[in-house]
Amino acid sequence: MKSLLTNFSAPVTERRGFLRTAAGLALLAASPAIRAQGRGMSPVAGVPPAPTLALPDMDGKSIDLARYRGKVVLVNFWATWCPPCRKEFPSLGRVRKLFKPADFEVLAVNVGEDAETAFSFAGSPDFPVLFDRNSQAMEAWLVKGLPTTLVVDRQGRLALRAVGGREFDDPAIVAQLRELLKQGNT
């Protein structure tokens, strides 16, 4: 019995590329059972372009998402009063350490609070903490609740989303991030 793939008439190299992409997309989705456990992240339908994001950091310096084009960027919307945000926050630093700074960055977007309040909880993490004081960025990113985390791929598109707390150094999420990093290199 011939399978659909053996009937595929493209050249071998293209076929390999197709298979690699298909396997990559399957990996990116993570298994439903893993995601149902609240461990993985969900693929964003249609992989739309990420909205703009330019916000002040703890020092008042404006940070623009556009400067990270070419990297995979994990954007986490949070607040200090949100229990699951506080619980998952340390894992943002841990996951950042798993990848090269040239490939991956974390942006933690605090919603509605000031730098002093955020600093009292987060200290000075290794990644930028940005301030969405009027929650307009949160609305532009169609965030409906805290915490919400989106992953932007190397092409500046929304690739993954998670609503509710996660441990971002969970092997399931790390595998999804590795796959996104690989996709940008092919």
């Binding site: 439903p32 059972a33 995601r35 149902a36 456990q37 609240g38 461990r39 993985g40 969900s42 607040a79 009063w81 949100c82 229990p83 699951p84 619980k87 919603v111 509605g112 609070e113 004081r133 009027n134 929650s135 949160m138 409906k144 609740g145 805290l146 989303r161 998670a162 609503v163 509710g164 707390g165």
Partner: protein, 181 residues
């Protein structure tokens, strides 16, 4: 063997999801419908006043919210599909069968507007509520506060309706009491 294994695995996934939804919080009320779980804790007026005073509300402005029958909810989709909720569809049913809806965050916000509550406090309030409409992908879970539109005497049940590709479903929390009842 296989069916037993899959039943055991299904049980593991549901219980793992429920444990995750609980986070570090002890929930007084819990219920599930298949892989969808809902948990609630009654919130006392003092808890809510303390929380919102720290977010920029005045004691006078937050008083009506603090005095309403209020809960913190946590809902999780421990299944593989997508589901959605509309808070307007949820009902509390009293012992006398009276149905009471939940007050929507936008309705409170109108009140904050009239009371000239500072913008930062309103933003914190808005995002601390169980949102009016939510979409849960596999594994997503959402926490938030909500209040009943009017008080119910004694115990009541809360019917939380949700939608998936198979239609409308509900998960019911039984024997709820407002804090202080």
């Amino acid at each position: 063997m296989l069916p037993r294994l899959s039943v055991a695995l299904a049980g593991f996934f549901v219980s793992a999801a429920a444990a995750h939804a609980a986070g570090d919080i002890e929930w007084r009320y819990r219920a599930a419908n298949g892989a969808v779980s809902l948990a609630a804790n009654p919130l006392t007026p003092a808890q809510r006043i303390a929380f919102y005073l720290a977010r920029g509300f005045s004691a006078t402005a937050i008083r009506p919210y603090a005095d309403a029958c209020g809960f913190s909810f946590s809902m999780q989709n421990g299944g593989a599909g997508t589901l959605s909720t509309r808070l307007a569809d949820w009902r509390a049913i009293g012992m006398d069968s009276r149905a009471v809806r939940l007050r929507l965050p936008a309705e409170w916000d109108l009140q904050w507007d009239k009371a000239q509550v500072p913008e930062a406090a309103r933003i914190a309030f808005r995002w601390a509520q169980f949102q009016t409409e939510n979409t849960f992908e596999a594994g997503d879970w959402i926490m938030g506060m909500a209040t009943l539109e009017s008080p119910l005497q004694g115990g009541f049940r809360l019917i939380a309706r949700y939608q998936d590709d198979k239609g409308q479903h509900e998960v019911t929390l039984n024997q709820l009491f407002c804090a202080g009842d």
